[in-house]
Amino acid sequence: MRDRGETIRNGAIQLLLAVNAVIMVYPLFVMVTSSFKTNAEIFSSPLSLPTHFSTANLEKVWTETNFVRYLANSVGITAASVALILLFSTLAGYAIARYRFRLSSLVLMFFLSGMTVPLKLAIIPLFIQLDTLGLVDSYLGLVLVYVAMGIPSAVFIMTGFLRTLPRELEESARMDGASELRIMWSIMLPLARPALVIVAIQNAVPIWNDFFFPLVLITSDNLKTLPQGLTVFVGEFTTDWGVLFTGLTLAALPITLLYIVLSKQFISGITQGAVK
């Protein structure tokens, strides 16, 4: 009896998970298959699979829109922002974690308090600040905002991780007369790779997906990021659903593939901070 009850319960659980999986995946499946359909096919038989795999939509997106440009902009802006976040926060975290100096805890406090600030709400002064510096509607302005947003939690993670590294390595290198720069660069930082990966993913995903800051800060079509470009694109092709689904599929593709390969790192990177 007990075994049978257990089987029923487990069956119910599997059913719940299966229904949820369908709700999560089916819309994405329809998005992908619709991108191979013609408009007429989507409207007349939205639920069926495409009768033949037409790449006409793909060609249209590639040649008639600025899509490739938006994609390249997103790659460049995300890469530059993440690189600078890693560099700046590792340096600062290294100073706080590995040296004793008078203002050390105050400096750490300053960085940590930045974690509680919703920078979106400071967008007006931020906009004015960037305007004064001539950085509105430029890559650099957007990148600096992302770097500022990423530094606090990155410093927090890097400081925490760098503190756990053993002293002995550092000491013996010092005995051998290695410079501080060399100790940091060739001995300590290679050990910090796991933390660097977490920080990179934690920042890359929201920056890649961000819409708010480009919306406010970028106006030239040639500088627009992918999420922002999508709104332009949707405005142009309102009734051409085949092209719209293709654009959405292409926009979702890079991060989805990366997520499937690195799902563990993605999940721990994004939920980091909420699961302590």
Binding site: P125, F211, T271, A274, V275
Partner: protein, 311 residues
Amino acid sequence: MTDGWRHSEGPFAWRRSLWLAALLTPALVVMVLFVLWPLLSAFRFAFYEFNGLRPSGFIGLENFRQVLFEKPYSDWTWNALKHNVIAFLALMLFENGTAFLIAFALLKALPGHRVHQVIVFLPVVLSAVIVGFLWKLFLHPLFGLVNQLLGLVGIGAIPWLGNENTALGSILFANIWHWLGFPTLVLLAGMQRISKDVLEAARLDGAGDYALMTKIVWPLIAPSVTIVTILTFIGSFNWFEIPYVMAGLTGSPGGSTDVLGLYFYRTAFGSTTTGIQDFGQGSALAVLMFILVAGVTAIALRYLRRREIEQ
């Protein structure tokens, strides 16, 4: 915690200071220029009248009075705030409620649970813009996937986003689809920290799944519930992308999906229809939103933490 330069006082002390300054300066400069200064200015600007991009004169609490008490601004503010509150309550109930159930199902670690974890989290990594547009197409009254599926069981075409009664709910549904994986995996992580002995002991005492869920798991994941609640609150009051994409800048139809984020954006950067922008009023709104979120978060943290200790 000492470092190797502790014997290098005197002639080498300045080199050490220089090294530390070099390490800290880049991060500090960025933070001061693009976080600290804008944030302090945000509070100051709320008390100024603006002429274009520059503050032109101190006007005390006038901006606050306008957005809170002067029509039509006050109507817009309260209308938007109401929708933020509805969003928070709906997300707590439907998103986090579902997340709790799925997390509990995943806790059992039945075959395939890892695949289900990856699947439930998949939409989380997508941009809200993609999710918003996708569901906007799916919710189209005639050709959308949702009504096509409902048509199969004989339910007539519903104008989900075109009707004031269903628009906000539809947008919330898209938001739940987008974010469900986040609370699910946060709550799951909390559940996995419960010691196996406790669960085992309860099982031996004859506790069924329901009793286990309500009497053991729920109280013991209080810290995770606290975090999910706070993050849902912050998310609900900063809500912007999905409403913007699905309902437009004015929260159509008829302001039935307007939220503070949209109203703030319209005020500060001008709506496409009116083109009027007011940095003073916008700053006042930002300050009010900040105080609301920070204040409620602080109070809720104290209350929820106490609940954690009592349990």
